[in-house]
Each structure stands twice: as C-alpha cells, then as structure tokens.
C-alpha cells in the first residue's frame, strides 16, 4: 500500500517538473522569436514585396506586436494552451495542422528505426556477450565505432549510392510512388520499400549504442550469483541466458532508449532530409530555408513536448517494472 502511495507521489512530482520544463521551453521559444532580427510584420511586408511604414505599423498593431514583452508572452502561452502555435506564412496554413499532417510519416520512420535498433542491438549484444573474444564481439566493437564516427547523412547517402544507384533495388526518395495503384497491400508494400533505407540509416546511430550496452550488461549479469545458482540447478545455458539473464539486462537498454528521444529527433531531421521523407524533419529543414519563424519554433516546441512526455513515460514505466529504480531522480 505504501508503495502505491509513493508511486503516486513520485508521479505527481514528475508531472509537475514536466510542466515547468514545458513552460520554460515556451518562454525560450518566445524570447528567441522576440530577439531575432525582423518580426512577423517584416515577413508579411517582404512577402507582399514591400509596403510603406504606416501599413507596417498597422500590421504590428493588429498582431499586438506593439504591446510590452510580458503581455505578448502571456498571450503566446495562452494560444499554445489552446493548441494554437501560430500561422505559417510560407505554407499559408496553421502551424499545428502542418505539424499534425507530417507527424505520421515521422512516427513511422522513428518507431520502426528504434525497434530495429533495439531488436538487432540486443541480439548482437547477447550473442557477443556469450563469446567476448568471438568474431561477433569484434563486429559489435566495429559497429559501435562506425555508428559513432560516421555522419548520419553521409551513411544515408552511401546507402543511396549502393542500394539505389549501383544495385537499384530501393527507390531514391520520398515515401510513396504516385503511379502505383491498387489496394491496401500494394500501397503498404510501396511505403515499406521506401522505408527500408531511411529506417536502416536512422537505426545505425542507435544500433551501435544499444549493442554495446546490451553486451556490457549481459556480461555483468552472466557473472552474477543468481546466474551461477541457475546453472548450478542444472538449467541449460540457453535457459539461463534467455529466461534469467536477458530479462535483467533489458532494463538499462530501455532506459537508454528512452533517453535517446532528443537524439532521435535530431537524427530524423538529417535522415528525412537525405531521403526526402515527408515528415517533420523535412518540414523543419524547409521552414529554415524559408525563414518561416513561427513554423520552426512550433516544431521546436512540439519536439520538446514529445521528448518531455516520452522521458516522463519511460521514467514511470521503469519505476513500475523495476523496483530497484527509486528514490530521488
């Protein structure tokens, strides 16, 4: 009973911190917009091909840009609470609807890439932990070095050169082929074919991390007392590794995966740009090119929101699953 109360208390504290973080991100976002040279009125004026000073003042009044900083900040936060992140002048659309329209593509890419990295990483880690001096173990070391040192956009371009130009099995860009007709399965197959290269590229960063951590924790767990006990009871090696040890070596890997959310967003921007994947990353890239401040700040806020909520959920899930995680922080 005490545990449940404690869990509730920790949850409340964590949620409280998350809200404070979000407000801090909003304030930062707004200050950036405020400090940047040129404001919304200038953007509109530019789009209109230049207008006179009086009209510029008129626009500033209409958008409330002549109000004091704090008033504007308050209004901005109020708007965000009503899911209004502003208006993109480049796309002539609401920032929120632009983000939501690009979200599915990014989620598909990010989730499949993370799953791939986790599954392959844990498999590689477990196998190489059983034979620390085997070929596979050296391969994991090599993979870790490559994953850390190769710029992800370069890996992506190499993939394209090899698997789209030299051996043309995968498409060069985009998410679907507009000429393909047919039912659900034909469409799904088409998207899957487009997904393969970006997915592998994005997972390459994290594969290295996960396989190395999985190997390290697995080796530690295999040397622990309860594994020796299990072996002494006469269980086979296989049973010990997959039934006993694996379960306990997963929790650090999952913790790490949760902490990678911010890196995932960064990686997605580069990978999506390389493969012209129509997700949030390319949207961010295009909004930077177009100097579309409300849109880029909207994406920044949205990504921070995703990272904060994701971290919160990982943290709470681990507390539920693993009683060793506890105390403060």
């Amino acid at each position: 009973m005490d545990g449940a109360v404690n869990f509730l208390r920790v949850t409340l504290i964590r949620v409280f911190y998350a809200v404070i973080l979000l407000i801090a991100v909003l304030i930062l976002n707004f200050s950036l917009m405020h400090m940047a040279p040129g404001d919304v009125a200038d953007t509109i004026a530019q789009a209109a091909g230049g207008i006179d000073a009086e009209a510029l003042e008129q626009i500033r009044r209409e958008y409330g840009l002549d109000q004091p900083f704090l008033v504007q900040l308050g209004r901005y936060i109020g708007n965000v609470l009503r899911f209004d992140l502003g208006y993109s002048f480049f796309y002539s659309d609401k920032v929120t609807s632009l983000i939501l329209s690009r979200l599915p593509a990014t989620l598909l890419l990010v989730i499949t890439a993370q799953l791939l990295a986790l599954v392959v990483g844990v498999i590689l880690g477990v196998f190489s932990a059983r034979k620390p001096n085997g070929i596979l173990s050296h391969f994991v070391t090599f993979l870790a070095l490559f994953g850390y040192s190769a710029p992800v956009f370069w890996t992506g371009l190499l993939m394209l050169v090899i698997f789209s130009l030299m051996i043309p099995i995968f498409p060069v860009a985009g998410m679907r082929d507009v000429t393909i007709e047919g039912g659900f399965f034909a469409q799904a197959f088409d998207i899957a074919r487009h997904l393969v290269l970006p997915m592998i590229t994005l997972s390459s960063i994290f594969l290295a991390l996960y396989s190395r951590l999985a190997r390290a924790t697995m080796m530690e767990v295999l040397g622990s007392d309860y594994v020796r006990t299990a072996k002494a009871k006469g269980l086979t090696n296989r049973q010990v590794v997959y039934k006993h040890a694996l379960k306990n070596s997963l929790s650090p890997v999952i913790t790490l995966a949760g902490l990678q959310l911010s890196a995932v967003v960064s990686g997605a921007v580069l990978v999506e740009t390389v493969f012209s994947w129509p997700g949030l990353g390319t949207l961010a890239f295009q909004s930077i090119l177009a100097r579309d401040t409300p849109l880029i700040l909207g994406i920044l806020f949205f990504s921070a929101l995703v990272v904060i909520v994701g971290n919160l959920l990982t943290d709470l899930a681990l507390r539920l699953v693993d009683p060793r995680v506890g105390g403060k922080k």
Partner: protein
C-alpha cells in the same frame, strides 16, 4: 637500519612522472597510437596544407564533375562548380577542426562550471541547476541549434556558440558525478578544516582530481562537435563563403545521383577524423583511468 628519509627519497626517485606513466599506458593501445599519428597528420594538414597545395578552393578551375582519376591535375575530381575537390577538402580541414575545438571548448567550459556547482553545493543551487541541465537535455539539440543559426545568422562564432550551447550536458553529468564522489573524500574535508574557501575547494582541490574523465569526454566532444557542424553545414546552415567538410557535401548533394564522389569523398574525411578522435579518446581513457591500471 637505513634512515627513513633516504628510503622515501629513493622511492620518489623510483616513481615516474605521472605523464610518463600515462604515456606508457596509452602506448599499449595500438589503435589509439595509430589514430594519434593520423590525427597529427590531419592537424598538420589543417595548418600548412592550404599553403602547401597552393590551389584556391574557391576557384573554378576545370569542367564541373570531373571524376577522380580522370585528370591527374585534379586527383579527387571537381565539384558542381568545377572547383578542385582536394583543395576544398584541405581547406575544409582547417574550418572543421577549428569549429570542433572551439565548440568543444565552449561546451566543456559550460559543462564543467555547471557540473562543479551542482556536484559541490546542496540545496537550492543544486535543485535550480539540475532543472537547468534537464531543460537543455530535453531540447532536441540539432533543431535548437538550427533555430539559433537560422535566427541569428550563420557566422562562424554563432555556429560555435550554437553547437556549444546544446552539447554541454554530457560534460556536466560527468563532472557532477566526479564532484559528488570526491567531495566526500578525506583530503577535501582536511582542506576544508584548514580553512579553504568554497571556490578554492572546488577549483583547486576537487577539480584537478576530477579531471581524467573530463579530459576523455572533452576529447570526444571535439569529435561530436565536428559531426554536429557537418550536420548543420549539410542542411545549409553555414557561412556560404567558408568551405567546411559538411558544406562540401551539402552543396553537392543535389547532384549526387550524377556525381556521387562529391559527397562520398568529403564524408570519408569526416569519418576518419572523428574515428581517430574517438580511438584517441579510448586510449586516453586507458591512460588516465586508474581503475584500469591495476590490470
């Protein structure tokens, strides 16, 4: 019976200088040694390469997209504007290395300061700075620096700042952990008892002993800062008048279906450099980590 003082002096005589000892450990790591040699070559190239090679990287010297080996005057070929790719890579070395070092310096400076304060003080200082660190941990790093560079201009100092400001949290975490460990040790209590002030305790007593893991992390930071700059430059967020490795890839990307070498070759330069930095970091870890020395 020999005089204890002379015994002590003999012992001191026998003890080698810490640097010698560290170098011995480093030397045993062959990969790190090779990487150090390569890295020295890269740095020398950054310093005297442009003068030695002599060809202006901004000059349009030949037909665009001349392939490597097609014309021996341009060993690595030419880019989409007909500029000599080798000249661009050589002069890009300088920019990439300088940005890497400067950005790493900024992030180590912020990281050590914040980490030291959080690890040393308890109470509200710790609480506030922990939230501050957490705040920077949840900001998607690349997006945030993209925003900074896009809003405030793509000058080199701004790029250095944008990279440094988003990547210090790892350094802060390590510094904090070391400070938490060391502040409980006896010699810290001893110097506190002999009247050392907080500032002296932090930076003269604890920090020197916390340095080894911080040095290793700083070396790795240079590598990740180079990667980071390459990423920004690839996205076009760089000074268009300054050639860097990432910028070569970014500006040639549109044409890579016809001339893939213009993006693959500069990538090799980034890859090799960052790889060598992380191998040297590994070697430094062997050399400076006393726990490993017992082996």
């Amino acid at each position: 019976m020999s005089d204890p003082v002379t015994v002590l002096e003999e012992e001191i005589e026998k003890a080698r200088h810490p640097f010698t000892e560290a170098w011995e450990m480093f030397r045993r790591n062959h990969a790190a040694l090779v990487a150090l040699v390569v890295l020295t070559g890269v740095v020398i190239m950054a310093i005297i390469g442009p003068a030695l090679y002599g060809r202006d990287p901004y000059d349009m010297v030949w037909t665009p997209f001349t392939r490597p080996g097609e014309n021996w005057d341009f060993i690595l070929g030419t880019d989409y504007l007909g500029r000599d790719l080798l000249a661009m890579i050589i002069s890009g070395t300088r920019v990439s290395i300088i940005i890497g070092l400067a950005a790493a310096f900024v992030s180590v400076f912020i990281g050590v300061t914040v980490g030291a304060l959080v690890g040393f003080y308890r109470g509200w200082v710790e609480e506030v700075l922990m939230r501050f660190t957490e705040f920077f941990q949840v900001l998607p790093t690349l997006l945030f620096s993209m925003v900074i560079v896009a809003l405030f201009g793509a000058s080199l100092p701004m790029i250095v700042l944008a990279i440094g400001v988003v990547s210090w949290t790892a350094v802060a975490r390590i510094t904090r952990a070391e400070f938490l460990r060391i502040r409980e040790l006896e010699y810290v209590t001893a110097s506190r008892a002999s009247g050392a002030r907080n500032g002296k305790l932090m930076f003269r007593v604890i920090l020197p002993n916390a340095l080894p893991p911080i040095i290793v992390q700083s070396a790795l930071m240079v590598g990740s800062a180079i990667l980071f700059e390459a990423g920004l430059a690839f996205l076009g967020l760089t000074d268009p008048n300054v050639v860097s490795w990432g910028q070569i890839i970014g500006s040639n990307r549109t044409y890579f279906l016809d001339a893939s070498f213009t993006v693959t070759i500069p990538g090799v330069a980034i890859f090799v450099t960052v790889l060598c930095i992380s191998l040297v970091g590994d070697g430094l870890n062997d050399a400076l980590n006393p726990k490993l020395r017992a082996r």
